[in-house]
Structure formats: structure tokens, C-alpha cells
């Protein structure tokens, strides 16, 4: 496992952590950007997937800067449990991805994918903020795309591109709620 | 169309052993019962006059249906020289006809006088057991076939059922105040309604089938001399026993009849059922 890969995993974890710990547009966008950057780095063996997913993540992150609460909103008061979650998730995914799972792809790739899935899901299940939910869904989509690239399933390229497109589409969706009642 | 068979049954229904013969036997028994149950009203002649005075002028439908059913029951008896072929007689037909006739009377007489439908139901249940239990072993409901069984394992059961049958006769023949919505023989001077006289007449027609069925079920029948003598004698004997029991019970305080049937006859009927259940086990 090279130093670059380890650094990429750490960056991805940082991204995930920012996603979980931020309640405002900048923090969330930064989290998404860092995660996609880390993901792209661990996917260097599959350049197409790396470019597509990394690019889509960055575009999605940029799009997230459009709306939602202003500022960074990172580590707001009462975020100790979330911090704990990030640490535990990081340790667990590292352990599971490197020691328990034997595939798919390389260990750093598995850890990064697991980080995306775990932290994305954790954030989605715990947040009440729309922009955070959209970003975490996008992160999970990117992780899924990466998993497809690593498993090399049938029509893998199509699925990776679909995941990238999906992440961008999720970024396109507005981050403000509209509430209408009726039939 | 089986005209001969039809003729035979018509004859049985209207003349013998039903119809005319049932009427004659019934009248004789009714007069005897009236005299025995209410002797203070005079001798036999007075009883006969009193009985004949109650002959209905019209045929009110419910009573008329009851008469027809009583006569239908009479056709099923194993009477000597009966025009009904032996194979076509059926205890069940007789029993159902008699019960239906009795309850037709009750459909008119429910709640009249001292009559108690519940007691009658109990007695009829016991009587039904007495009629049907003997047919369990042979698996046959033809009266003459059942009457013919006089030896072997069936005897204890037949004895028990015979006793039960005799004990039930007074209530079945509407001789007791509790079982006679139209009043026991000799107690009614004039009928209040056509129905009342109709159901008084029903009792006259019940004597032959009720007592004759006892003879048919518990004594051998046939067309030989002995059988010809035995049938009327046993039938009239059963009627006499019924009258005697009724006379005895009517002289006792109220409630004794109920006690007799519910506390004595009913458990004895249970015993008879037990005997019927054990008979095949013990015989084989």
C-alpha cells in the first residue's frame, strides 16, 4: 500500500468527516470535494472511472455551493457524537476494508468505498438539512460507481458514467424545501 | 302403479289394524280408562256415555292430521293378518307418526290445564329409547323381526326397554293431567272447542298403535293361532297396565309423576343405553 493511497484514503475520510460535521453549504461542498478527490486518487488504476467520478464529485460539490445555509457550519455546538461517529467509522471501515474483505479491488479502494457508503448513509439518516442529504446521496452514488469500477461488472463503464451523471444530477437538485399540499 | 300394495296399505290405514279396528279398541280402552280414573262419576255405562258425548262433529285440521298420523302408526304394527307386507313395516315410521301426532296436539294445547310439555318431552325421549334400543343389535327396524328375538343376549335389553315402554305409556296416551292438554279420560264433560273434541278423539285412536307397538316389539308375532291370540291379549294388557299406572299416579299428590319420570325412569333409560352398549361386547 503506497503512501499516495494512504493519503488518498485519509483525504476521502476527511471529506466524509466534513460532510458529516458540517451544516452549511461550504463545509458540505468541501466534504464532497475532498471525498471525490480521495476517491479519484485511489481509483488511479481505472483512469476513466477516476476522472469521471472525481470530476462529477467536484462538479457536484461546486453545485452545492449555490444554495443552502451560508458559511462553513463545520463542528457546530453539540457535534461531539458526530465527531465520534466519524472516528469510529474511519477505524471500522479501515479494519473491515483492509483486513476482513478480500475484494473487490485494492484495500485502499475498498476502504474509500466503504467510507463513502458508511459516512454518506450515516449523514443521510441523521440530517434534517436538504443540502446535506443531497450531498451525502451524491457521495454514496460516487462510492457505488467506484465499487462498480473495482468489481468490473458487465457494462461497468456505463454504470460508472451513470453514477457520475447521477452525482451531478443530485447536485443540480435545489437545496431548498418547497411544501405543497393537495391531491 | 303397485295397486295391490296400495290397496293393502289403504286397507290397513282405514280398516285393520288402523281405522275401524283402532277406533273400536280405542273406544273400549277410553271408556275403561274414564271409568278407572274417575270412578266417582258412575259405572262403566256412565263412562261410556260421557266418552261418546265427546265424539267430534267436525274434523278440525290439526286434530284430523293427528288422527291420520295415529292411523299411519297403526299400519306399521306386526298385527296378525295385517295387509301390509311384513318387509314394509317400520318401527321408525310408527314412532315418528306417533310423536308427530302428539306434538300436533301440543301445538293446540300448549299451556292448557296442568299439562307440562317438558315432562312429555322427557317421557317421549325415554319411550323413543325403549323403541329404538332393541333394534341396535339386529340392525333392523322391522317390528316382527325385533319381536322375534326372545332368546340370547338381547333379552336383558328387551326386558329393560319393555319396562320403560310400559312406564311411558300413561303419559304417551295422555292419561295423566301433566301429559293431557285436553284433559285425562273422564275429566271433561263437554268440549269447549272443536279442536278440544278433536284431540280427545285423538287419544281414542292412540290406544291401538301405542299398545300394539309394545306387543309388536317385545313379543313374537305371526299368523299362527298363538300369535293371533297373543296380539290382542298383550295389547289390551299393556293398555290395562297403562290405565292402572295412570290411576295410581292421579291419586297421588302433584309432583309425584314428575319425580317418577325424571328421577326414576330417566336414570333407568340411561341404564338401558348402557346395557345396549355392553350387550354386543358381552355377547361376543
Amino acid at each position: 500500500m503506497g503512501i499516495v493511497e494512504v493519503a488518498a484514503v485519509v483525504v476521502a475520510w476527511l471529506g466524509g468527516a466534513f460532510l458529516v460535521l458540517s451544516d452549511a453549504r461550504r463545509g458540505i461542498a468541501l466534504g464532497m470535494a475532498l471525498y471525490s478527490a480521495g476517491l479519484a486518487a485511489v481509483l488511479f488504476t481505472a483512469p476513466l472511472a477516476a476522472v469521471a467520478l472525481g470530476g462529477a464529485g467536484l462538479v457536484g460539490a461546486a453545485l452545492r455551493l449555490r444554495d443552502g445555509r451560508r458559511g462553513w457550519g463545520t463542528l457546530p455546538p453539540g457535534s461531539t457524537p458526530r465527531l465520534l461517529l466519524c472516528v469510529v467509522a474511519g477505524v471500522l471501515t479501515a479494519f473491515v476494508g483492509s483486513s476482513i474483505l478480500e475484494g473487490p479491488g485494492s484495500a485502499p479502494m475498498r476502504v474509500t468505498i466503504l467510507l463513502g457508503g458508511a459516512l454518506g448513509a450515516a449523514r443521510l439518516l441523521s440530517t434534517r438539512r436538504r443540502e446535506a442529504a443531497l450531498a451525502s446521496t451524491a457521495v454514496m452514488t460516487l462510492a457505488v460507481g467506484a465499487a462498480e469500477a473495482s468489481t468490473g461488472g458487465p457494462a461497468a463503464a456505463t454504470v460508472v458514467l451513470a453514477a457520475a451523471l447521477g452525482a451531478i444530477l443530485l447536485g443540480v437538485l435545489p437545496g431548498v424545501e418547497t411544501d405543497i399540499h393537495g391531491t | 302403479m303397485p295397486w295391490e300394495d296400495l290397496g293393502g296399505h289403504l286397507l290397513a290405514l282405514l280398516i285393520y289394524p288402523g281405522g275401524l279396528s283402532a277406533l273400536l279398541v280405542g273406544l273400549a280402552a277410553e271408556i275403561g280408562a274414564a271409568w278407572a280414573l274417575v270412578p266417582e262419576r258412575g259405572g262403566l255405562a256412565a263412562a261410556a256415555r260421557g266418552t261418546l258425548r265427546l265424539v267430534p262433529r267436525t274434523a278440525p285440521p290439526p286434530a284430523a292430521w293427528a288422527w291420520v298420523l295415529a292411523l299411519a302408526a297403526a299400519t306399521q304394527l306386526a298385527a296378525p293378518f295385517s295387509p301390509v307386507p311384513a318387509a314394509e313395516r317400520n318401527t321408525l315410521v310408527a314412532a315418528a307418526a306417533l310423536l308427530a301426532a302428539a306434538w300436533l296436539a301440543w301445538s293446540w294445547g300448549w299451556g292448557r290445564r296442568a299439562a307440562s310439555a317438558r315432562l312429555v318431552l322427557t317421557v317421549q325421549a325415554i319411550w323413543l329409547l325403549a323403541v329404538l334400543l332393541p333394534s341396535m343389535g339386529p340392525g333392523n327396524l322391522r317390528p316382527q323381526a325385533l319381536g322375534a328375538v326372545v332368546l340370547g343376549g338381547q333379552v336383558p335389553l328387551k326386558l329393560a326397554c319393555g319396562l320403560l315402554y310400559l312406564a311411558c305409556l300413561p303419559a304417551l296416551l295422555m292419561l295423566l293431567p301433566e301429559s293431557a292438554p285436553q284433559g285425562p279420560p273422564g275429566t271433561v264433560a263437554r268440549a269447549q272447542s272443536p279442536e278440544e273434541s278433536g284431540f280427545l278423539a285423538l287419544r281414542v285412536l292412540l290406544w291401538m298403535p301405542c299398545c300394539g307397538l309394545f306387543t309388536s316389539l317385545f313379543f313374537p308375532s305371526g299368523d299362527g293361532f298363538l300369535a293371533v291370540v297373543r296380539f290382542p291379549l298383550v295389547t289390551l294388557g299393556a293398555a290395562a297396565v297403562a290405565i292402572a299406572v295412570a290411576a295410581n299416579l292421579t291419586r297421588r299428590p302433584a309432583g309425584v309423576t314428575r319425580l317418577l319420570y325424571e328421577r326414576l325412569a330417566l336414570p333407568f333409560a340411561g341404564f338401558a343405553v348402557l346395557v345396549a352398549a355392553l350387550t354386543p361386547v358381552l355377547v361376543h
Binding site: - | 300394495d5 290405514l13 284430523a64 340392525g139
Partner: protein, 543 residues
Amino acid sequence: MVLGAAALLIWFAGAAGLRVGRPLAAAAGWLALASICLLWLPRRSLAEWSGPSLIPGARLILRLDAVSFAFALCVLIPAALLLTFQRRGWRESGAAALTVAAALLAVLADGILSTSLFWGTAATLLLVQLRADHLRATEVYWPALVAGWLALVWAGGALDVLSGTAVYTAVPVTAMTSALFLLILAAAMLGSGVLPWRPWTAEVWDRPRLYVGSLAVALLFPIGFYVLVRAYGADGGRWPSPWLNVLVGALAVLIALTSALRAQAATTRRQFLSEALPGLGGFALLALAVGTATGITAAVATLLTAAVVAALLPLLPEAAESRAAPLLLALLVGAPPAATFAARALVVQSGIEAGGGWGFLALAAALAWLLSFAAAARAGRLPAVGRGTEAGGSAAGAGVAALVLLAGGPLLGWLVAQVCLPATAEVVTVPPGAVAGGSIAVLTAAGAWPAVALGLPLLVLVLLPLLGGRSPRVAAAVEAPPPLLSPVWARPQARIWNRVRALRVPEQYRSLFNPRALEAAMGRGQPLLWAVLLLALAVAVNR
């Protein structure tokens, strides 16, 4: 087809403003009856019509043989009488015609699955008519019918799995197990409303109007028995175990006795009448359970009688006391020479003939019969209809039905020879001399009923007083006379029910059974909840 076409015709005509529902439905009913007789009686040979595949592995085939002919009569005789003499609007007539068609198809179906389809269809159509008329008593009817239907569907499916077919005549003997038979029995008892407690066939009499409920009873009552009779054919002329015969026999006697007990404790005439069919059902079930040729013949005869009774009961005039009321009541409970008597007698005879324990069961049935005589005598004193019920009926219809019932006794010999015995021979082997019917008598090993020779004169003699005689109308008592035997089971039943209803989850555990709280937890599920859930399941699947 005749009935289905009639239904469509009635609806189209009705929609076009032509109100010809009732006569058209009645004509269709009689025409269907005539066609089924013309199809079967002259040739008496098996006829089959193959239809489309219902579900994978089950094709719809209609089969006209002696059994289905007998049961078709059980369905069509009361249907034709009710469609003719009951007052119905054009919509109701159309629905009724369609329902009769479904019920007829159920007894013409050659397999359990097809029977269940048409039986269920008939039940559904009847539910619509019942609810459209009045809500009362469908709470008993619908669950009972659906439970029975599900049991039959399950039995059909299971037979299909075990033997590759659910066709009555093709099921191998080994496939019909006791468990399967119990399912079929449950279906039959629930569907036909033959139970030891007050069944839906009696409950529908609590409705203000009888015209739909009575049709439901008339059409659905025979179908359960049809399946039970077919079960003999499907299992080589016997039920899977002799103990099942004993169980069904004991149940049947219990049903006859409890029905008679309820009848003698009735508070209105309607309540008494409502018990007539369950009582007869008990007798039919007992005869079926006996399982001998005489028994099955007696069962079919009883069901044919029940069909006429099902038509007669709702047609009886309720408003005024009729002169014939005592006779009608006596006929219903089996006074000679009516068919009700002949059928009951044949059932008791079949039990006594079978010997052993069957004799005692027959004896118990005879006691139930006696009790219903007493109930009928008491019923004459009861108010005709209860509170909230509307007097209905049709004197003409009741007259026709009563005549058929009366004539049924003398005609029983012919019926046995032409309908019952062939149906019996279809499912079991009939030993020579076991049971025979003809123009003279019904002869069994145990006894005989001189149907024509004695029945005919009796019939004439019974009718004479009615034509000639004059009797005052017996006024019913304002309040019902006390029952002869008070239902001993009522109080404990109520007590147990109250106990059950009083059961509560202890306060401290209620939160565990609070679905709203659980749903809120699901809806707002925090990551920890899902993590724990997943972990628990992961451990569970790897143990």
C-alpha cells in the same frame, strides 16, 4: 349459460327502462333446471366441457355426472322457486341470476380449485347483494365464507402439490390425507353453515328482509356437501381414516342437537325457522359420515329435501297466522309423509343399519328429531317476526313449495332410484340389496318406507282436512313461552367471552406493543438504530 345470459339481458333491458327482471330471472331458473334434466336424464352418461387454464396447472373443466346432477338439482330447485316467488327489482334479479349461475358452476366443476373459484364468486356476488340490501349479519357471513373458501383453496393447492392434480376423479387414493380432508371438512362446514354454534345460515334470518339471505342459504348450503361427497370419490370410496367418519358423525349429531336446542328456545317464529336448515344439515352430515351406500343415499336425499325447505322457509307468509301453520311447522320438522320425514328416517335407518357406535349416533339424531317436534309445537305460539323485521313471504310460493315437500315423501322411492342411488354409485360401490328405491318403497337392510303405498294415501288424507275443514286462526302469544330446555351453554359462553375481552397487556409492557411508537422510530430512524438492527440480523443469519 342460460342464467348468465338472462342476467345480462335483465341488466341491459333494465338500463333501457324495460323492467322484466323478475319474470326473466324466474324463466331462466326453470329453463336451467329443465336443461340440466334434459342433458342428464335421457342419456345418463358422463359429459365434460373443457375450458381455459385457470392458473398454472389447473384447467377449468365442467363435468356433468350423477353427483353433479344431484347437486345441480339442490341448487336449481330452490333457486327457481325463489326467483319466481320472491319480489325483486330488476337489478337484484340480474344479480341473483348471475349468482345462481356461479353456484351451479361450483357443483359442475370437476376439481377443488374450480369449485373454489365459482363458490367464491357466488359468495362475493351474494355479499354485494346482502350489503346492498342491509348490513346486518354479513359480519358473520363474510368471514365464515372466506375462511371456508381459503381452506378449500389450500386443500386444492395441497392436493395439486401432492398428486399433481386437484380433479376429484383423478386424485390418487394416497394423496387424500387426513390433514387434507380436515381442511375440506372445515371448508364444507363453514361454507354450508353447518356448525355446532349458530351459523351464518341462521344468522341471515336476523335481517329485516329475507330475499337475499334466503338465496344465499339456498345456493351455498349444498356446495360444502358436494365437496364432501366428492371426497369419497377422490379417495376410492372412503374417507382417509375411519376415525374421520366417527369425528364427522359425532360433530353432525352435535350440530343436529344444538340446532334443535336453539330452535326450542327461539323467541320468534323466524328464529325457529332459521334453525330448520342447520338441523337438516346435521342429519345430512351424519348420513355422509356413516359412509355406507345407504348413508350416502340418505345424505343426498336429505340435501334434496333441504333444498326444498330452503325455498319454503322464506316464502312462508309471516304477517297473519295461516290455518296451515301447524301443518307446515310439523312438515318442516319431519312429520310423515313429508320428504323431511322420509329423509330423516332414512338417515336414522342408515345409522342403525351400520351398527356399532353408529346406532347410538343415529339414536342421538332421533332424539334431536324429537326435540324439533317439540320446538315446532312451541313455535306455533311465537310471534311471527321479531323487532325490526319485515313480514314477507308468498302464499302461492309457500303453497307450491309445501306441496313439493309433501309430495317428496311419496316420491322418495323414485328420487332414490333416479337421483340419489346413481350419485352414490358414482363415489362408492353399492353392494346388491343394500339400498333400493322404486315406485313402491325405499328398501334398506334395516327397514323400509312404503313411499307410494303408504305415503300417497297419507298425502291425500293430510290434504283433505285442509281443503274441507275449517279451523280458527291460532293467535300467537304476545310473548314467547319459556323454552323447554334452557340453553345451558349460554352463560359460561358469555363469561368466557367477557374474560377474553377483559385481557389487557400490563401497563409496563404496553410501550413494547405500541405500533405508533415503533413506526415513529422507523420513520425518524437514527443511524444507531439501523446499525444495531443490521448487526443483530447479521449475527442471527450467521448463527
